[in-house]
């Protein structure tokens, strides 16, 4: 069983949902970013999503755009993101890691070589934002061969007729984009989620994670009540960005502040079970 499936099975046995915390590789510098990554499991992250910096992140709001810009300024390349995962795996064999990014840097790396190297580094799944199911055959066979889960985005615009097509070939978990919009802007209401998630649930046995607009412990709790996991990205990056100096350099508080927030989110996710 894959790390992702194992982790969700464990959490299901415990009767609780998962916190998926996000960081952008090399934001704002390699050492800080690595320290945040290493600290996330102990702070309560059940799975970790790492953003691969790209010049043109068309689905992302200002917060993640700026994170990518800082990372690129620090010299981030795809090999560095993979190196971070390899380094992380020396101390953690269990926490699933999912890379989130855009297709072009993967094409530049070479799809097959990327799948081989990502799997070898200890990556468990990929979210390729601009690879909809219509184009998925470009990567799916190679990802399957190398044991990488293809995590698909499902959006409020994805109707029930289209849903099976989107879910076909997806594995690991399903990422439900809870708003029509870009990352870090709006938040879905509990009613929206209560309406949307059962439709996805009927179409798949995979765990469902809710992302885009999940910012607070309470929102994370609401997400794991409605589904199986909460993805928090922009809120963590906002915290990180708030600790940087005027030149964008990390301060003494950067790592601690981000991990404290992960802890608070993890508490929210864990309390959702007791409340339920």
């Amino acid at each position: 069983m894959s790390r992702i499936a194992t982790r969700f099975a464990e959490l299901r046995a415990q009767g609780r949902g998962a916190l998926i915390s996000f960081l952008e590789a090399w934001d704002p510098d390699p050492a800080t970013s690595m320290e945040i990554l290493r600290g996330m499991p102990a702070a309560g992250a059940d799975l970790i999503e790492i953003g691969c910096p790209f010049t043109d992140p068309m689905a992302d709001g200002p917060t993640i755009q700026l994170a990518g810009k800082r990372a690129l300024k620090a010299g981030a390349k795809m090999v560095h993101t993979l190196a971070m995962v390899r380094e992380f795996r020396r101390g953690d064999a269990a926490t699933p890691i999912v890379l989130m990014g855009y297709l072009n840097p993967i094409l530049a790396y070479g799809v097959e070589r990327f799948c081989i190297d990502a799997a070898a580094a200890g990556v468990d799944g990929l979210i390729v934002v601009d690879l909809p199911s219509e184009e998925a055959d470009l990567m799916l066979p190679l990802m399957t061969t190398h044991g990488l889960d293809m995590i698909r985005l499902v959006a409020p615009t994805t109707d029930e007729r289209r849903l099976p097509k989107v879910l076909d070939g997806s594995s690991g978990f399903v990422y439900y984009v809870s708003i029509t919009g870009i990352t870090g802007t709006r938040t879905a209401s509990a009613e929206d989620l209560a309406d949307a998630i059962p439709k996805v649930r009927r179409a798949t046995d995979l765990p469902i994670a809710i992302g885009f607009g999940v910012r607070s412990p309470a929102q994370a709790a609401a997400a794991v009540k409605a589904a199986d996991a909460a993805v928090v990205a922009s809120a963590l990056i906002d915290t990180l960005a708030g600790t940087l100096d005027s030149d964008g350099r990390a301060g003494p508080e950067t790592v601690r502040r981000v991990l404290d927030q992960v802890r608070a989110l993890a508490d929210g996710v864990r309390q959702a079970r007791q409340a339920a």
């Binding site: 010049t55 043109d56 068309m58 530049a108 909809p132 870009i182 709006r186």
Partner: protein, 413 residues
């Protein structure tokens, strides 16, 4: 059945180069629909609506009405006699798309797309613009039909294209400066896509060039093909034959695709696309995606892109803001790979020389975009015979560029 005359549209046979794209929006290995899932249902909706419009016998006559009475089509075909004499070789004809309302070819596609948006019941229009020509054309058709319009424009471009920003505002459009990324055309397109995902029900994204996800490259090409169709017929009337060479400038590639497409199945016609070589192809300051780029994926399609080894998109440079784009329409990438179209480049300086030549010999101030095409005409016309014919798309007028040109010529206005 009537015998087809050379100017009548010939049905596209199995060997036709005009049948693309395929059902997945691919021209060979290029094009496609590389967008986030949130947008996918929207572009499928545009695709279906466009197919329905094409099948509706009322659609084309409606478009023709507006093209004739509002845009001013057909645009003339002009034999540039003094230019021809000055170059001393092939006869040079200009397709005068700079005489369209708003001064460029952009309105051909804006008119088609606004009619489509109305059919779809969309009540808000968004667009991206670089130099502002597409923004002005979009704002114009939105004013004509009373639809609110938001134009995304890189903050850098807003600062250097103040007259067009003011025009758009006069026409009632909201111009949103984009500060993300490098704050230029590609970032304006990213921002327009971000707006679209956030406003899925009421908004139509009116893309300015033959790029973006399927069906845009096909649809914009179809709407721009009126350029080549008219020119083919007009040249038939003037000379009784096809041109030997057809030349057009390429940024995203919409004016070139519009000129070339009707000639793709005429193998005797050499087709030449002229990219912007900026300060030179061997500098890092050019916009020559085909000459110096590699295939990749940006803005919803697979095509040639200016990018670094890690797949990060690089900034383009050209004296002509309309050519300043790090990608190119996917159909051009395909035509490049199969060798049907030759892609060459002209530098900023060559375009400036051609700009002045055209102004003095023909009394036409061309935009800096077609000045790139003319720079190549200048190179090849003298090598051709006096009976040979070059057809060049004069796709925009140069009023918008006089400040840039003055600056480069050291003239203070």
């Amino acid at each position: 059945m009537d015998t087809p005359t050379p100017t009548a549209p010939v049905p596209h046979g199995a060997n036709s180069l005009r049948t693309g794209p395929d059902a997945r929006g691919k021209f060979g290995g290029f094009g496609g629909r590389f967008v986030a899932e949130t947008l996918m249902p929207l572009i499928l909706e545009v695709e279906q609506a466009y197919a329905a419009a094409k099948a509706d016998p009322a659609f084309q006559p409606e478009l023709d009405y507006y093209l004739k009475h509002y845009v001013g089509r057909p645009s003339p075909l002009w034999f540039a006699e003094r230019l021809t004499k000055a170059l001393g070789g092939a006869k040079v004809y200009f397709k005068r798309d700079e005489l369209n309302h708003t001064g460029a070819h952009k309105i051909n596609s804006c008119m088609g797309q606004i009619l489509l948006a109305r059919r779809m019941g969309k009540t808000r229009i968004i667009a991206e613009t670089g130099a502002g020509q597409h923004g002005v054309a979009t704002a114009t058709v939105c004013a004509l039909f009373g639809l609110p319009c938001t134009v995304y424009m890189g903050a850098t471009d807003v600062a250097r294209q103040a007259p067009n920003v003011f025009r758009m505002k006069l026409l009632g459009a909201e111009v949103k400066p984009v500060v993300s990324g490098a704050a230029t055309l590609k970032d304006a397109m990213n921002e327009a896509l971000r707006d679209w995902v956030a406003n899925v029900t009421d908004t139509y994204y009116l893309i300015g060039t033959v790029a973006g996800p399927h069906p845009y490259p096909m649809m914009v090409r179809d709407f721009q093909s009126v350029i080549g169709e008219e020119a083919k017929q007009q040249l038939q009337e003037a000379e009784g034959r096809l041109p030997d060479v057809a030349v057009a400038a390429i940024g995203g590639g919409s004016n070139a695709m519009g000129l070339f497409h009707p000639f793709l199945d005429d193998p005797s016609v050499r087709l030449i696309g002229v990219e912007a070589a900026g300060h030179g192809l061997d500098t890092h300051q050019h916009a020559a995606s085909l000459s110096r780029g590699r295939p990749g994926v940006l803005h919803g399609n697979r095509t040639y892109l200016l990018q670094d080894d890690d797949g990060q998109i690089e900034e383009a440079h050209s004296i002509s803001a309309g050519l300043d784009y790090p990608g190119i329409g996917p159909e051009h990438s395909w035509l490049h790979e199969i060798g049907r179209v030759e892609y060459v480049a002209a530098t900023d300086d060559e375009a400036l020389d051609a700009f002045q030549l055209c102004t003095r010999t023909e009394g036409i101030i061309p935009a800096l975009e077609p000045a790139h095409a003319l720079a190549h005409v200048k190179k090849i016309a003298p090598t051709m015979g006096a009976d040979d014919i070059i057809l060049m798309n004069l796709c925009g007028r140069g009023d918008k560029d006089i400040f840039t040109v003055a600056e480069h010529l050291g003239v203070k206005l």
